[in-house]
Symmetry: C2
Subunit: 166 residues, 2 copies
DNA sequence: ATGATCGTTTAGAATATATTAAACGTTCAA
DNA sequence: TTGAACGTTTAATATATTCTAAACGATCAT
């Protein structure tokens, strides 16, 4: 391959690895995406392995992860047994399918914390036995935990709004 | 401390550690935030160390990180040399001050990749010496990299819109 | 059937990250 | 001017993550 073009590709792959790690993915996952993104044709595991100089196992693992996130998809190449992959270039799809799901799941965790913790609140009979300071502290806890719950609803709304824009 | 209340606090702290790691922070950072969030009064490094059973060094490191993200702030306690911290409870502030900055920085990285990589494009004279297939590949690269740049603008717009909602 | 070619799994090695304990510099009170 | 009380830094350790190489099962051509 022409050294100039190779340099572009390598640099791009490197940067996408960095971008991936910025977003909390494995660096290799980002690199694979970069490689597929700059490939006019689908690539097989072998080719990816050769181009990135990484073990087959790692590629196998990360490309499935990438697929799970909607970053690439398997394509069938006539007359070849190998699995071929191509990049999902519609960024909208990647965002919608997976990233948003993950984001929503994270946001909902906020609400789960409130639900989970409030299950530990003492029954009203038990509350009687608390000292005045303890009663005060308990209601402080309740207040704070409740506002966390409200935040969750807000974030939820924000996400839904955001998704309509995409 | 009353065991019932202690249990609530501990559970809450644990969950916030988990939440923190979900969002790519150090678990301890989340726990510290949880602890401060459920404390009616500001806490000193020592108290945090004692309550979380973690070394002073770790706390020092992570609380500064937390502060950097707008999750807590130092407060002055009259007559005490120690640093005291309290949670930032206005979630809006945390989001605005730091999380959004970080998100914007990440998004802008996408654009930087395009700028950085396109700096490697060969000069037009050099392009002459490329074979027809190479020329084709180069324009393919240019196309893909350009669309990445467009995505960056879109994301940028989305973020700005989102921030207005907050 | 046999062997070659796939992708996957896995146990151990390599690497990166988080944590501790101790040393350190500063500040302040005596 | 000491020394005690702070928060920070750091070097070593512990832990978690990532990666490799080899084993494996499945599929296909012969």
């Amino acid at each position: 391959m022409n050294p100039k073009l190779l340099e572009i590709k390598d640099r791009f792959v490197e940067k996408l690895g960095f971008l991936g790690s910025l977003f909390g993915f494995n660096k290799l996952l980002g690199q694979i995406y970069g490689l597929l993104y700059l490939s006019p044709t689908p690539l097989s595991l072998d080719e990816i392995t050769k181009q990135l100089q990484v073990s087959k196992g790692s590629i196998s693992l990360n490309i499935r992860e990438l697929e799970k996130w909607g970053g690439c998809k398997k394509v069938w190449v006539k007359g070849d047994r190998k699995d071929y992959y191509e990049a999902e270039t519609q960024f909208k799809n990647i965002l919608n399918k997976r990233l948003m799901d993950a984001l929503k799941r994270r946001v909902s965790t906020v609400g789960e914390i409130a639900a989970d913790t409030s299950a530990l609140y003492p029954e009203s009979e038990q509350t009687q036995s608390l000292s005045p300071e303890e009663k005060k502290l308990l209601s402080f806890y309740k207040n704070r935990i409740e506002s966390l719950d409200k935040i969750q609803s807000k974030l939820d709304f924000l996400l839904k709004t955001l998704m309509k824009f995409l």
